[in-house]
Structures are given as C-alpha cells and as structure tokens.
C-alpha cells in the first residue's frame, strides 16, 4: 500500500504551485480568444498549385482596409482573420484573392499534353472554411461559457452532496461536495492556464469547443473523484482503522482503476492530438491535459483534503 494520504503535504503543495502558476498565466496574459468570442471573420483559402506568399496575399487585399487583419499560412492553405464580419467584405476579399490566384495560376487551355481538367485542377481556388461572427454573438458566448462552467460546478457539487447523504461520520456529506468542487476548480484553472501559455507563445486560440473540453474535463474528473469517494463510503462503516488510514486504503484500492481508466482515454485523445483533424486537435489536447490533472486531483487532492478538513475540525474541538 502506498502512503498517499500520509504524504499529503507534498501533493497539496504541488497542486498549489500549479494552481498559482496557472492563475498567474491567466491574469498576466489571459486567453487568446478566438473569433467565437470576439466576433470577426476567419477565412481559410486554398490556392492553386502555384501558391502566393503571405506578403502577396496581404498585398492583394490591402485596398479593402480590413481591421486587424492577420494572414497565416497553413499546411496548404492560408488562414485570414479580420474584425469585419459583413457578407460584402467577405465577398470582396474572395474576389481579390481569386484574382490573385488567377494571376498566379493562369489557365492555359491550349497547353499541350495536359487535359483541360488537369489544368483547372491546378488552378483550383477554394474557400475551405469561412466563419463570421457578429460581436454581439461573441459577447453572448463568453457570458454563456462562464455561466455553463459555473452551472456545471454547482450541479456536480450538489449531486455529490446528495449521493453521499448517508455518509455523515466523521465528516458531513456536503464536505465531500466541497472537496470535489475544490478539485474541479483546480483542474479547470490549470487547463485554462495551460492554454493561456499556449496562446502566449504559440498563438493558439480558444473557441467554443474549448469550453466544451473544459466542461467535459469537469465531468471526467468528478468521475474519478466519485470512484474514490464511493470506496471511502463503502469502507468507512466497516473499517477498524482511523479516518486517515481508511481513506488511504480506499485511494490505494482504486488507484489501478483510476490510472488505467485515464490511460485508456488518454491513449485515444493522444492519437487524436497526433493524427486528428486540425479542428479537433486542440479540443483533444485540452481534454488530454484536463484529464491528466483531473486524475491527479482525484487521487492526490480531493481525498487528502477530506483528511485535512477532518483534522482541522478535530483541532477546533
């Protein structure tokens, strides 16, 4: 049996350090918000065989005077971001870029040895993706995202307090709920802090799917925490040991399961991060990080907290 609970000071310290670092990242840099939240347009364009470079693309749409334009080359396309979100702007950007593409890839129908189809394929200009979001929608989503995270936190804590209502000794059932809440909050902040870091140095934006990822992490993390607490619930009445040792025994009994479960999920997520489509890559990464720390917190934070709380109560008496 590992002495996990006994070494709780180490684990809680690690959590505190991570938590404080994450808070620092968030307050110092903040998240790099995607257009989902800020409003604006994101346009992904694929050019023909003869690709223009970033400068040429920027030059081509210079006259349109787009607000806070960024042009970013991707694997075989360009991603343009700008603040304007009207359909007219969208169409004029497309027209300009199409012109650029045509000048770069002139269609030579008479070209010998190449069929017409092949020539047009070389010239292919395609709008892969376009998203335009009005500023009001963006604001609304920000609000909604925060609300839903808070709502999930509260709902989960309430459910745990309810599920453990029959356990009252030595600590009350609502304390299980609060311990879970603290662990969940810890996970959320660390994931957000991690993405603040990614946003600062790699320009990775967060969008609505990031919110979904955070919410899922909450669900998963609480999953782990409940399995441990459930074992505590089962062991407490029949255990001859004191509270601390009973909890340590429960954590140990569920350790393999916690690690195995997280590992299987992380296998899947890791393969999505490596091979998955660009649009869910960061979604999977957020889940990956979140589930890692979710597992950590359920073993090394939530259960130790119960013991700390119980000891505090005893001292007070």
């Amino acid at each position: 049996m590992y002495k996990i609970i006994q070494k709780r000071k180490i684990w809680i310290s690690i959590s505190v350090v991570l938590f404080v670092t994450a808070i620092y990242f968030i307050s110092a840099w903040g998240l790099k918000l995607g257009i989902d939240f800020t409003g604006g347009s994101l346009l992904e364009i694929k050019f023909g065989a003869n690709k223009p470079n970033v400068i040429e693309v920027s030059e081509a749409i210079k006259d349109l005077k787009l607000n806070s334009l960024s042009v970013q080359p991707s694997e075989n396309s360009f991603i343009l971001r700008f603040q304007d979100n009207s359909e007219e702007v969208h169409q004029s950007v497309l027209t300009s870029l199409r012109k650029l593409n045509d000048s770069k890839n002139p269609v030579k129908l008479e070209q010998e040895g190449t069929s017409t189809a092949a020539v047009t394929a070389n010239n292919s200009f395609e709008e892969l993706n376009f998203t335009a979001i009005g500023p009001s929608i963006g604001q609304e989503l920000q609000k909604k995202a925060v609300y839903s995270i808070i709502l999930v936190l509260i709902a989960i804590s309430l459910y745990i307090s309810y599920a453990f209502r029959k356990v009252s000794k030595p600590i009350a059932s609502w304390k299980y709920g609060v311990a879970t809440l603290i662990a969940l909050f810890h996970d959320t902040i660390i994931v957000i802090g991690f993405f603040a870091l990614l946003g600062k140095f790699w320009g990775i934006e967060v969008n609505t799917s990031f919110v979904a990822a955070v919410l899922t992490v909450l669900g998963f993390s609480v999953h782990d925490t409940i399995v441990v607490f459930d074992r505590i619930r089962e062991n407490l009445p029949k255990s001859a040991d004191d509270f601390e040792n009973t909890i340590n025994k429960s954590v140990n009994q569920t350790l393999t399961r916690s690690i195995n479960t997280s590992m299987t999920v992380m296998f899947v997520l890791f393969s999505i991060v490596l091979f998955g489509g660009a649009s869910i890559k960061y979604f999977a990464l957020a889940l990956f990080v979140g589930i890692f720390f979710g597992t950590y917190s359920s073993i090394f934070l939530a259960s130790p907290l119960l013991v700390v709380w119980n000891n505090l109560k005893r001292k007070a008496q």
């Binding site: 359909e87 892969l128 609480v222 489509g277």
Partner: protein, 585 residues
C-alpha cells in the same frame, strides 16, 4: 440471447451498406444460389463540418412588435426562410428560432451541402415586396405644369404628322401601307369591344357599329365605300385618319355596320408622360400604393402566353386580395395599374375592365427562368420582420472530408491501443470487454443513425470519449472482481459481487457526466450540442453494455473451465494482497 439479437440488429443497421455489398458478393460467387435478404441502408446524418455547408445566424428586428406577437412573427420568419431555402434543393435544411438570454431573437439556418452560399444569403435576406400601384392623379397634376411644354411639342408633332398623312391618304395613296407605317401601338374603343392596334397593324378596325364607336363612325357613315374622310377626327386620345372600306346591314338586324380603317396619332396627356418616365426608370414616384400587396396572394404560377409562348406569371389572390383587386380594377378602367416588385415596376398593364374572381396575369419582358424565380419568390412571401445576418460559418466540402478521414483514423488507432491494453492487462475479461465494446460501438452507431443524431466532428469526439467511459465501466468491474477473488471468494460469487459493488461507482460517475451533457446541450452552439448529444447517448448505452453484455459474457463461461484456466482472469489466487503494480508484466 437477447444480447445477440440486439447486437445483430445493431450491426445490420450501422453496417447496412457493407452487409448489402457482402450479400451481393455472396450471391455473385454462388451464382445466386445463396441470396441473403437486403437491409435498408440508413445513412448517417452528417453535420456541416463533415459534409460541407453553411450555418447562417440572423437576428430579427422585433423592436416594433408587442411582446405577445414576437413569437408568432418569428415563426413566420422561420417559415419564410425555410421556403426560400427549399428552392435551393438543400437536403433537410434546419431552420430554428432561438431566443437568447438577452432577449434577442435569432434564426439559425443550417444549409448542409449547399453549393452557392452567396446566392443563398442573397435569397434569404431579400424581402420580395409585390405591390399593386395605381396612378396618383394629384401627383400627375402637379407635374403637369413642368411637363406642359414638352407635352405641347409632342402633340404638335403628332398633329403635324397626322395632317401630312391625311393629305396623302386623301390624295389616294395606299391606305394600308400608310397605316402600317404610321400606326403606333394603342388601344381603341372601350370595354369588351376594345382592341389593340399595333405598329404592324394595317389599321383594320373590322366591322363596327355607331353605338360602339360613335366618335369614328359618325363622321364617316355618309361617305362612299372606299373614301377617306377629308378631315382629321379628333378624339380624346388621338387624331384619326379614317377610311370607310365598306358598309352593310348587320345580319337580321336593322343596324348599319361599317368596316373602317384607321391611322391614329396619339394625343399625349401628362399621365402618359408620367407613365413613360416610370417605365423608363422605376424610381418614379407618380404611382401611389394600393392596399393590395404580395401578402394577399394565394399563389403564383408560371405559365406561357398561348399566343406567343412568352412566359408570364399568373397570380391568384386570396379572398381579401380578390376583393381589393376588384376595387382597384373597377376604379382604374382604361387606366394603367403598375405591378411593382421590390419598388421597381415589372409590368404596367392597362385595365380594360373590372376584374372579378381574384386572378391576374403579370406579363413583362422576362425569360422563363426569371418568371420562375419571380413566381417562387412571390410564393415564399415577404418576411414579416426585417432580419440581418449576424454570423456565418461555411465549411468547404473538401475540408470536411479531410477532417472526417483524419478523425476516424485517429479514433481507430486510439481504440486499437485501448483494446490491446485491455487484453494485455485484464486477459480473458479484457478480451470479453473488447467484445462488449465492439457491440457497444455498433449499438451506438445504430442509434445515431436511427435517431438520427447529426454527426459533427465534435460529435465523433464525444463518441470516442464515450467509448473511454464505457471502458472505464469495464475496468471498474474487473478491478472489483480481482479484489473479490483476492478476498478468497469463489469465482461465480466473485463475478456477481464484482458487478454489484462496482455499480454505485459506475452509476454516480456517469450521472455527473449526464449532468454535464445536459448543460452542454443547453449551451446550444450546434457544434457543442453535437458533442454533448453523442456523449450523453454514449454514456447511457455504455452503462447498458457494461452491466448486461460484459456480465453475461463472463457468466457464459463455464465455472469449471474458468477455474481450471484461472490465469485467464488473474494471477491472484488467494487472499494475499498483491500490489497492483506488480501485476504489470
């Protein structure tokens, strides 16, 4: 047994196309000796990000409406947009009304697989407004002064020309040739006897009586057959040069009929000028609105003029519209009534008589396609409230395909690793749970198809994650099973206890996931909704498979056989506590 039936049914639904192919190949290989019955292929409903398409979000301007009417108005907007989208042949467009927390009303339109988003946006945003307008006499009067000089010039020219032609006609030049050269298009006569004589008309008025057309007949009735009247006949609308071709008694009646030929030169009025100006550029305001608009329309259809085959749009009004139309035509007999579309006149016919019955025909210079479009737009009606596009997301079809391929590949690799891990770590139960998971996968996919759940990229992620949760349920059970064995329980009992003790954990932990899913569904961005719905269904199905499928698989194994090959389940044989890590070999 039940499990096998469910699993087979699920397999047939989720893999229907493969099964049919297999059935084909078996039939082919055995020369139709063995023919398996075909199953219906149920396709997945793919989301916008997977098949390409557009999501458009509109905000409706409902400021002017009282609170009680807002919902009805929005429902109207939704219907109109849906009808307009249907013209594009988008398969299963989704149009929803959404009220935001801040009280704004939104319409979300999802157009899967649409080719021309630009055109769709144009079409949805437009408010085709069909109006019937009549001449505004007060406006005409006020502009008459300005135009009077121009009018005098025009009429002087007309008069001069008329005199010249009269002289030629009286001299005995070929009247038919003169008529063809000089007759402008216009209406002559009133009511049922009115006829239109055009530029190519030889001026033949056919047989008329004095009653019908006294102005022309009276001066010429005493002429000899074939004679041209020596003066110009001036009527309200034109100068006429008239030739009496023939005269006779109408059959069986004592009424004289006169066969006349006529060359006419219009006398312009201020109203004519106004009309001419209006048809030249539609921005003229000398038309005033009647109450009749497109909303009084029952339907519009395209048909073709039986005479010249040109396309026209037939309108049919509802009861109120028919009444209004009757009133308008009644007060505008012999006057023009204009049909305006979006503020531009598309047709300005002259009313010949009061039209009852609520039917009208719009002719104009349109092509068949334009006529069809007009009819469609009239049928889809006008938007009850103005809307504006606030958000748009378009995914090209090729990007969608690429994402699907990548994500499916990633999912499969991940699952293969999970399966390997389960089998290595948990041995026989691991293998059984992989079997249970495969059944789980098929059942989920079958439900996704039948529900149907819209599959998005995030939805696939949700599904993959739910597989993770399903694995978790199995792991919980097996860990518990090992523990019970360690505590010295015999196998059959250990299996039972393992399941029953693991259940509270599975239930509670999945329940929290379900809570999260409901919050996510409320979060209402379609992408996230897709994720939450698949995860929710996945979690519910996973509880079912873990408890029923895995358990029964284990039970099916004969106890004796399992005891003999105990190592298949675990290396633990007695009460001795074994630290879990040492089991990793």
């Amino acid at each position: 047994m039940v499990i096998i039936i469910i699993a087979l049914a699920a397999l047939l639904i989720s893999g229907g196309n493969f099964y049919n192919k297999m059935s084909d190949s078996i039939a082919g290989a055995t020369k139709n000796f063995v023919t398996l019955p075909k199953v219906k292929e149920v396709p997945f409903r793919l989301g916008l990000d997977l098949q390409g398409g557009s999501q458009l979000i509109y905000e409706a301007d409902v400021k002017s409406l009282p609170e009680s009417e807002k919902n009805a108005a929005l429902e109207g907007v939704r219907e109109v947009i849906e009808r307009r989208i249907n013209i594009f042949g988008v398969s299963e467009p989704v149009v929803q009304v959404n009220k935001t927390m801040a009280g704004a009303y939104r319409i979300i339109a999802e157009l899967a697989g649409i080719k021309d988003v630009k055109e769709a946006i144009k079409m949805i945003g437009e408010t085709p407004l069909l109006e019937f307008r009549e001449k505004d006499d007060s406006a005409t009067a006020s502009t008459a002064d300005v135009d009077s000089k121009k009018l005098d010039e025009l009429n002087k020219a007309s008069d001069d020309q008329a005199k010249k032609i009269l002289a030629q006609a009286v001299k005995g030049e070929d009247f038919v040739a003169l008529a063809k050269a000089n007759n402008p298009a216009q209406n002559i006569g009133v009511g049922n006897d009115s006829i239109t004589v055009g530029a190519e008309n030889d001026g033949d008025l056919d047989w008329v009586t004095e009653d019908v057309n006294p102005e022309l007949v009276k001066p010429v009735k005493s002429l000899v057959k074939g004679q041209v009247y020596k003066n110009l006949i001036t009527t309200k609308s034109a100068y006429h040069v008239v030739k009496l071709e023939d005269k006779r008694l109408r059959d069986g009646q004592k009424i004289m009929e006169y066969h006349l030929r006529d060359i006419s030169f219009p006398i312009y009025t201020a109203a004519d000028l106004a009309a001419a100006a209006t048809s030249a550029d539609g921005a003229d305001v000398k038309w005033k609105n009647t109450q009749l608009t497109g909303k009084d329309l029952k339907r519009a259809v395209v048909n073709f003029d039986p005479n010249d085959g040109s396309p026209q749009v037939s309108l049919e009004f509802n009861d109120e519209g028919a009444k209004l139309f009757e009133e308008i035509t009644a007060r505008n007999v012999n006057k023009q009534v204009a049909i305006f579309l979006d503020g531009y006149p598309i047709s300005i016919p002259t009313v010949n008589e009061k039209i009852t019955g609520g039917k009208a025909v719009v002719t104009g210079t349109f092509t068949a396609t334009e006529a069809k479009l007009l009819a469609q737009r009239l049928n889809t009606g006008a938007l009850p409230v103005p809307i504006s596009l606030v958000s748009q997301q378009t995914v090209g079809a090729s990007l969608g395909q690429q994402s699907v391929n990548n994500s499916v590949k990633a999912g499969l690799i991940g699952l293969a690793v999970v399966a390997l891990f389960m089998i290595l770590f948990y041995r026989l139960p691991g293998l059984l749970s992989v079997g249970a998971l495969v059944i789980y996968g098929f059942i989920s996919l079958a439900i996704f198809k039948l529900w149907p759940v819209t599959m998005t990229l995030a939805g696939i992620a949700g599904f993959i994650l739910s597989i993770g949760m399903a694995v978790d349920a199995n792991i919980l059970i097996f860990e518990r099973l090992k523990e019970e064995l360690r505590n010295g329980k015999e196998l059959g009992r250990a299996i039972e206890d393992g399941f029953s003790r693991a259940w509270p954990s599975i239930r509670d932990s999945n329940f929290t996931t379900i809570i999260v899913c409901f919050v996510l569904i409320e979060f209402s961005t379609s992408v996230i909704k897709g994720f939450a719905v698949t995860l929710l269904l996945g979690v519910i199905i996973s509880m079912f498979t873990a408890i029923f499928v895995t358990r029964n698989f284990l039970k099916l194994m004969s106890n004796k056989w399992l005891i003999k090959y105990h190592w298949l389940i675990t290396s633990v044989k007695n009460k001795k506590e074994v630290s879990p890590v040492t089991e990793l070999k």
